[in-house]
């Protein structure tokens, strides 16, 4: 047997479990989902080709769809920057060599371990409910609280607070990034008499931009796909104020069995995520500092 052919065969045989999964569970479904997005399909009768009707209906007639977009964008654009700023703030705080820092780090990470679990959703619902712990605390101050979960103006904020509470992963990634910054930079700056604040903005922040970039991309993608919290805590309500994109998609697919329409929604979601990721990547040359390039 030809040497090169043999090498090819050995290589492919090692990656074959993934290759099989990729073809059947990823590539096949991607193509199928694109096809289904141009059909009307309820899983009882076979798919019926209706051209771009799903997309046109979605973009011109479905006001709940537009609402779900609005809610999701609001959620992503508020929660992601806040979460990253907060994670960075705590990570910088934890760079001090004080005793107990590693214990504190563990405590601050605890909420993130149980991130998407049902128990947390149950807990949140009761904490912020009408007779929950928050209102109990407020009543000591003489304030009569509302049911934060079912009040249309506050519902989304209770979900934003929930994801902010789980800033552990970006915090750990920031902490690892902060350790990589050479100490000499700060020593040189202190010789020049630079203040702590200017050190942060002129050394820490620029040196950390690759890590910020990474966290931003990951959190943004995750944010657009948020499902469990909204589904369990508010069920998309009240008045669709927390009807996230992924929740509306789920409802269309598995409650209404409109598989074609839901597939079209999935493809638009893919385009949205791809566009935003591409924008962040494109903007990165302007603000992400890579040492190996000798600066920007």
């Amino acid at each position: 047997m030809n040497q090169q052919f043999k090498r090819e065969l050995v290589g492919i045989s090692f990656i074959s479990p993934w290759l099989l999964g990729f073809l059947t569970f990823t590539l096949g479904p991607i193509i199928a989902s694109l096809y289904l997005s141009f059909t009307n399909y309820d899983m009882l009768s076979s798919p019926e080709w209706i051209g771009t009707h799903n997309y046109i209906h979605m973009l011109t007639q479905d006001s709940r769809y537009w609402n779900s977009l609005k809610v999701t964008f609001l959620f992503v654009f508020i929660s992601v920057p806040l979460k990253l700023m907060f994670a960075l703030f705590v990570a910088v705080l934890f760079t001090r060599n004080y005793r107990g820092v590693s214990f504190y780090r563990t405590v601050y990470y605890i909420p993130s371990i149980i991130g998407g679990s049902v128990a947390v959703s149950v807990m949140w619902k009761r904490l912020f409910g009408l007779h929950g712990a928050l209102n109990s605390g407020l009543s000591f101050l003489g304030i009569k609280g509302v049911d934060w979960i079912t009040e249309p103006n506050t519902a989304i904020w209770s979900l934003i607070l929930l994801v902010l509470w789980q800033f552990g992963s970006p915090m750990l990634i920031f902490m690892a990034g902060l350790k990589q910054i050479p100490k000499e930079l700060y020593e040189a700056a202190s010789v020049d008499g630079a203040s702590k604040v200017s050190n942060f903005f002129r050394i820490t922040l620029p040196m950390l931009t690759p890590v910020i970039f990474f966290n931003l991309v990951m959190q943004m993608i995750g944010g657009f796909m948020t499902f469990t919290q909204s589904f369990l805590i508010t069920a998309g309500g009240p008045l669709d104020r927390t009807l996230f994109y992924a929740v509306y998609l789920y409802q269309n697919a598995f409650t209404n069995f409109q598989m074609g329409y839901a597939s079209a929604m999935a493809w638009v979601l893919l385009l949205i995520i791809a566009t935003f990721t591409a924008l962040v990547f494109k903007s990165s040359s302007a603000w992400v500092y890579y040492e190996s390039d000798g600066g920007k």
Binding site: G11, W18, L20, I173, M218, I221
Partner: protein, 279 residues
């Protein structure tokens, strides 16, 4: 002097804020031990007047015919079988990508990276239709089988990163000793990859145990429900009879994750820090 003031200020701030962060968890724990009448009366308090262990005993029996022992057993079966599959597929595949050289490698590697970024919503519907046609809906198979064929590209990527850190000289020495590719994988790489196995196993456990969307889509029969699905059924406002039971079962559902976290904290912290896995 000023230094120690700042130091005290730091500790006071961090501890106060830390208490606020874990308050919801302590509150759940406290509520799980409160008598039903007390849960919403003194809602904010963390100290039950008496310890109501009955919440755990009554809660465990669930409702109807399904008890939490069934939910826990189901979660354990799915998590363990998934774990074995993930370890098998991610190590074998990662070896192919990290240690071998073949022509289609870079093409497939690009595919792997793209799958990591792909929103699961795009493949979710055709996958469901496929499993439905295979008659796998309402079995554990859709939740287990994908693990065996590289269902989580994140773990493959993690293993690749780890394998790349193992010196190539070891492979070369093994070749001189007459080892073929399979021997290198079994005898050289695998024994050195223990930390990577640990990290992958821990994250695989945490994510599968926590998974909600998968069981939500594929399991309809309460006898097959995982802990998260059981808890959700239990917390349905129309069927909640007793919040104390509910909190008690919430606490139990979190215990496996806490145990793993506190036992293997080092691996988790390093895993997140070095590969940026979402925890």
């Amino acid at each position: 002097m000023t230094l120690s003031v700042r130091r005290i200020g730091f500790h006071v701030f961090v501890i106060a804020f830390g208490l606020l962060m874990i308050y919801p968890i302590l509150w759940t724990l406290a509520s799980s031990l409160k008598p039903e009448s007390e849960i919403f009366k003194h809602a904010g308090s963390l100290i039950p007047s008496t310890l109501e262990w009955n919440n755990y005993i009554k809660g465990w029996s669930g409702f109807g015919t399904t008890s939490f022992s069934i939910f826990f057993r189901n979660s354990a079966v799915i998590t363990l079988f998934g774990l074995v599959g993930t370890l098998f597929s991610s190590s074998v595949v990662a070896f192919g990508f990290a240690r071998l050289k073949f022509r289609t490698q870079s093409l497939f590697f690009a595919c792997l990276m793209i799958t990591m970024m792909l929103p699961s919503q795009v493949t979710m519907i055709p996958q469901y239709i496929m499993f439905h046609k295979l008659n796998w809906v309402n079995t554990f198979l859709p939740l287990i089988v994908p693990h065996y064929i590289g269902g989580s590209p994140f773990f493959i990527f993690m293993m690749i990163q780890f394998f790349r850190g193992i010196p190539r000289e070891l492979d070369e020495a093994a070749v001189i000793d007459g080892c073929n590719t399979y021997h290198i994988f079994w005898k050289v790489i695998l024994p050195l990859a223990k930390p990577a196995f640990m990290t992958v196993a821990i994250f695989s456990f945490m994510w599968t145990w926590d998974d909600f969307l998968g069981p939500l889509i594929y399991l309809n029969d309460p006898k097959l429900f995982t802990v998260s699905m059981g808890l959700r059924m239990f917390s349905d406002p129309s069927s909640v009879s007793n919040w104390g039971y509910m909190f008690a079962m919430s606490v139990l559902s979190l215990i496996p994750q806490f145990l793993i976290f506190f036992t293997f904290q080092k691996y988790i912290v390093e895993g997140i820090a070095t590969t940026g896995l979402k925890g």
